[in-house]
Amino acid sequence: MSAPNQLLASPAAKPIVFVLALLPAAWLVWGAVANTLGANPAEALIRATGDWTLRFLCLTLAVTPLRQATGWHALARLRRLLGLFTFFYGVVHFLCFAWLDMGLDVGAIVQDIAKRPFILVGTAALLTMLPLAATSFNAAIKALGGRRWQLLHRAVYATAGLALLHFFWMRSGKHDYAEVAVYAAILGVLLGWRVWRRLRPAPRPALP
């Protein structure tokens, strides 16, 4: 086993990643308490939690390509954790919007989802993650069967597309697509890798 793989396989790897993944949330909570989030803390929280959802989505989708490219197979142990953190930040993002922007007024939230396509698409992205988060534990994998579970979890590609469209439409207000392009490139590479692996001719079995 290579050194990075050994590190990833150690029992400490998961708790460390767990704590690291909580740091952005802790930083934002601290910022809200200490009032260091700028003139519009509500907007800062909504945007930052959205950014972190996208970042964790990229990290989650990077696990498999990175594992295949490097042979660090212990990375696979972190995939569920990262996926669940993507969902966590997505939920916090939605709650920030619902609470800080809409004052938890259900009527206003429903109206806003209908009124603004980018909110609708963002909500849809969150909803596509719901069944994945709900079937993320081992018993669910067993109950569904590996193949069906895997098929269901391909919904994450829909999440990626919807999340990117959500961000694109949000930024279209300012015609500023620089950051959108960065996320599109990353997600493009991560999804392109999968397509390429599927389409390339199968390696010949070694002759006896």
Partner: protein, 267 residues
Amino acid sequence: LPGARSAVPGAATMEAPTAYGDVTSYNNFYEFGTDKADPALRAQKLQTRPWTVVVDGLVKKPGRWDLDTLLKLAPMEERIYRLRCVEGWSMVIPWVGYSLVELIRRVEPLGSARYVQFETLADARQMPGLRSNIIPWPYVEGLRLDEAMHPLALLAFGLYGELLPPQNGAPLRLVVPWKYGFKSAKSLVAIRFVEQPPRSAWQRTAPQEYGFYANVNPTVDHPRWSQATERRIGEGLFAKRRPTLMFNGYEPQVGQLYAGLDLKKNY
């Protein structure tokens, strides 16, 4: 930059002014970047002296006005205005300046002048935002002549009793409190009197979203969001959004300018 209390009706709201730190760290000034933190970070080296403003077009007395002349043109007044951004946030800002009409009177517009066009500095060496072509630079805005001559339309040189900080549009800017903030062009270099309605930078960029009038109006939504409410900056994380007021609360003063105008069509 001291300013006397203004006698203009509506010129001094009783609402609590937004903190100086918020006013000067959170605003849009695309010449310095599209993030609302960019202007404060990137505008500090803006050269505001010497500064001249070209005033020309359909006027009897076209000319170049230097800043010192403009600063002494009329007595400075403090105007405490609400500012409503089209994005859905608002502030209360104590500006210092005088009614734009003071300058307009002195250049004597011709009878054919119907509109006034305002142009912001576009200097790529000082303004990193110009590298992106989000907007056709220079930033252009416009008012109908009668709007520009309304006493509430302000030529501002300062805020909070100080000269304008660069990020807020130094050394002089327009403030039209009953319109969305983007109408109030900053760092003015040209004021032009014309016959046809000027096409503003935002009309060129997204005509279906930003019209010529851009009056604050809670009943006419932006195509992508509601304009019914606004977040008052500085009220804290859990403050409820406030209802947005017609003409940003300046309806008694400016409502008659739009008598008979379809405000849904003329957004």
